[in-house]
């Protein structure tokens, strides 16, 4: 396990994607403010660069996708197979419980996303782009739509952008309430007017067979928002902002029982202790930290005894058998019943299961029911084994990263709370079973 050698100074923390909205809160969403603060200069510069140079620059910056999978953005781009009438799809279907960063980026600095899309389109020779915004985000979608219209009226989108020979059209597409559409192949199906069911990979890797079976780049909002800054500061300076293995900044969405929840743009490499106590103000008065989810509802939980001084990077979190995912940190104090919390998480996955794969469709339902009976005092000793057995049928051997029996990771995500509570809180589960229900009520 990697432990942080030295704390990173919080006072000096660099703001990249939230800088403009922090310095100019009243009008950071307008094209006037955007351009007055250096906006659209990098898109113009990108027009003069070759595709290869753009891809290499983003590769060199070390930028990892910010949607959850943390895959190299530059590598993803380099996979885009010819032929290149291809598409760009920006994933703004932010729905992982605990995550609310893209909402802020879209509402407060939408032109940054538009400029990032222009750069991505140039790097991948894409002329048609879509932004898939979750249905529950009409306000972020309105702001983005307004920015897109402003960009069109300035000649930054449409035919011959910035007076060049390059065309780029952008369509803002509203979802309709389905978490699974955040999975990139489900999103593509949804955008094609189908049910939002994930496709099998292989062969349906979006870079090869994506939207309308054409090569397609799917990038998260935050990933896209970083691009103008990478061009502006260069790969080396961008890398220097963060951790050597995990460059740039990262948006953490912190929620739950902390004093100051919210979105925080931070470099990687802090410790969880710093994040929870220094950044988020610590646990609310009269309570102590019990457990936290380090990277969204899909991630296995961490506990104070083992993980507080762990370094926050993709690798260190992975070595500790969890993930940073979408950056959603959900903190639970000692008032939390872990059985009830786990049931609430599992209920989410059960509700959002698309139903294609039996282990997920049936398994998540059973996990929710068994947790419910334990919580309500009808649990039996064998129920812990039942939970683990059902989980094993979704995620073979309960390994991390999961060995899936399903098309997509949604099913195995529902197993994370089960792994967590049986590993760290078995006594509390048994107290429910033997004490006729929840001891905290």
């Amino acid at each position: 396990m990697t432990v942080a050698a030295a704390g990173i100074g919080l006072a000096a923390r660099p703001l990249v994607v939230t800088r403009r909205m922090t310095e100019h809160p009243a009008d950071s969403h307008t094209v006037a403010r955007y351009e007055a603060t250096g906006g659209y200069l990098q898109a113009r510069r990108a027009l003069a660069m070759t595709r290869t140079d753009l891809v290499e620059l983003v590769k060199a910056s070390g930028l990892l996708g910010r949607g959850g999978a943390a895959f190299s953005a530059g590598m993803k781009w380099s996979f885009l197979a010819p032929p290149r009438p291809s598409y760009l799809v920006v994933n703004a279907d932010e729905s992982e419980p605990g995550t609310f960063k893209d909402r802020q980026l879209l509402e407060r600095d939408p032109h940054q996303v538009v400029e990032g899309m222009i750069i991505t389109a140039l790097a991948n020779e894409v002329h048609e782009a879509f932004v898939y915004v979750r249905g529950e985000y009409p306000k972020p979608a309105r702001r983005l739509q307004q920015a897109v219209e402003e960009a069109y009226s300035h000649g930054y989108l449409g035919k011959g952008i910035f007076g060049s020979a390059f065309d780029l059209d952008v369509v803002v597409h509203l979802g309709a309430g389905a978490y699974i559409c955040g999975e990139e192949t489900a999103l593509i199906n949804s955008l094609e007017g189908l049910r939002g069911e994930p496709r099998l990979k292989p062969p349906y890797f979006p870079a090869a067979k994506g939207l309308y079976m054409q090569p397609t780049i799917v990038n998260n909002v935050e990933t896209i928002a970083n691009l103008p800054h990478i061009l502006e500061m260069g790969a080396e300076a961008y890398k220097a902002l963060g951790h050597p293995a995990d460059t740039g900044t990262f948006m953490f969405s912190i929620s739950g029982h902390v004093k100051t929840p919210g979105n925080y743009e931070l470099p990687h490499g802090l410790t969880w202790r710093q994040l929870i106590y220094d950044v988020a103000g610590g646990i609310r008065a009269g309570h102590t930290l019990k457990t936290w989810i380090p990277g969204g509802a899909s991630a296995p939980w961490f506990v104070p005894a083992d993980h507080l001084d762990l370094e926050i990077t993709k690798d260190a979190t992975g070595e500790a058998l969890s993930m940073l995912g979408s950056g959603a940190v959900v903190v639970m104090d000692d008032s939390t019943c872990v059985v009830e919390a786990a049931q609430r998480l599992v209920r989410f996955f059960s509700h959002e299961s698309c139903g294609q794969c039996t282990p997920c469709r049936e398994g998540t339902t059973w996990l929710e029911m068994v947790l419910g009976r334990i919580e309500n005092g009808a649990g039996r000793d064998v129920d812990i084994d039942v939970l683990l057995d059902v989980s094993d049928n979704i995620s073979v051997g309960l390994k991390w990263p999961p060995v899936m029996t399903t098309i997509c990771p949604l099913g195995p995500s529902a197993v994370s709370p089960i792994i967590s509570i049986t590993k760290y809180f078995k006594d509390e589960i048994l107290a429910h079973i033997h004490g006729g229900g929840c001891p905290l009520k």
Binding site: M21, P25, A26, S28, E94, S95, E96, P97, G98, T99, F100, D102, R103, Q104, E107, R108, E128, R134, G135, E136, P138, K139, A141, R142, Q145, Q146, V148, E149, D169, V171, V172, H173, L174, G175, A176, G177, A178, Y179, E192, G193, L194, R195, G196, Y212, S253, I254, S255, P261, N263, I293, A297, V330, T336, A341, R344, L345, F348, H351, E352, C354
Partner: protein, 202 residues
């Protein structure tokens, strides 16, 4: 009931923004809801005809997504988030208060058609938990008392448009992040207030 010429023209404009007609199914389903106030069989048939697929294929899509309401919904749709972050900070009590104050059980609509109440999964307002939406416009940091006031206000004031800033000022508390920028518009119906063609009039 066929759609008006104006709505049909709008539908064709939306279809034209996509490389393939079928991609317009989702925005057209919203349009169908605007036209009939919810998703009717006739509306789905109209969408099918416009994009060149069967009504069954349209139904398959419509039934996949929770926001396509295939039954009438109240003028004000109250969606209480009960996922993990809101749950940790009292969402279940909030939902109970809503049901009690409006007399509308979770998932149902009042007899007079004014208010619908539903619990929903994470709406992305976790930093301002517990949170809810009215006609998909956010209110964050809601206490049980404020929730009661909100219900009474909807019943008495019957606002034409649900504005997030107004709701937040009257009934909200802590927020996920500084909203900073005020908006003039809002939601006139229990359908997300978003125009896919931007400023083109409804």
């Amino acid at each position: 009931m066929r759609w008006s010429a104006q709505t049909l023209a709008r539908a064709h404009d939306i279809i034209a923004t996509y490389p393939q007609k079928r991609s317009a199914v989702m925005p057209l389903l919203y349009l169908a809801m605007v036209e009939d106030s919810y998703l009717t069989e006739e509306g789905m048939r109209q969408v099918a005809e416009l994009v060149g697929i069967t009504p069954a294929q349209v139904q398959a899509v419509a039934s996949f997504y929770t926001m396509y309401k295939r039954e009438p919904v109240g003028r004000y749709l109250i969606s209480v988030c009960t996922s993990i972050s809101c749950f940790l900070l009292g969402s279940d009590e909030l939902l109970a208060v809503m049901e009690e104050e409006t007399g509308v059980p979770d998932g149902e609509t009042a007899a007079d058609g004014l208010i619908s109440v539903e619990h929903v999964e994470c709406i992305g307002a976790c930093g301002g938990a517990p949170a809810l939406q009215v006609n998909y416009e956010f209110v964050e940091g809601v206490t049980p008392d404020k929730a009661r006031s909100l219900c009474r206000w909807l019943a008495e004031a019957r606002p034409e448009t649900i504005k997030s800033d107004e709701l937040q000022a009257l009934f909200g508390g802590s927020v996920s992040f500084d909203w900073a920028i005020k908006e003039a518009g809002g939601a006139a119906r229990p359908i997300p207030a978003f125009q896919p063609l931007g400023t083109v009039a409804e």
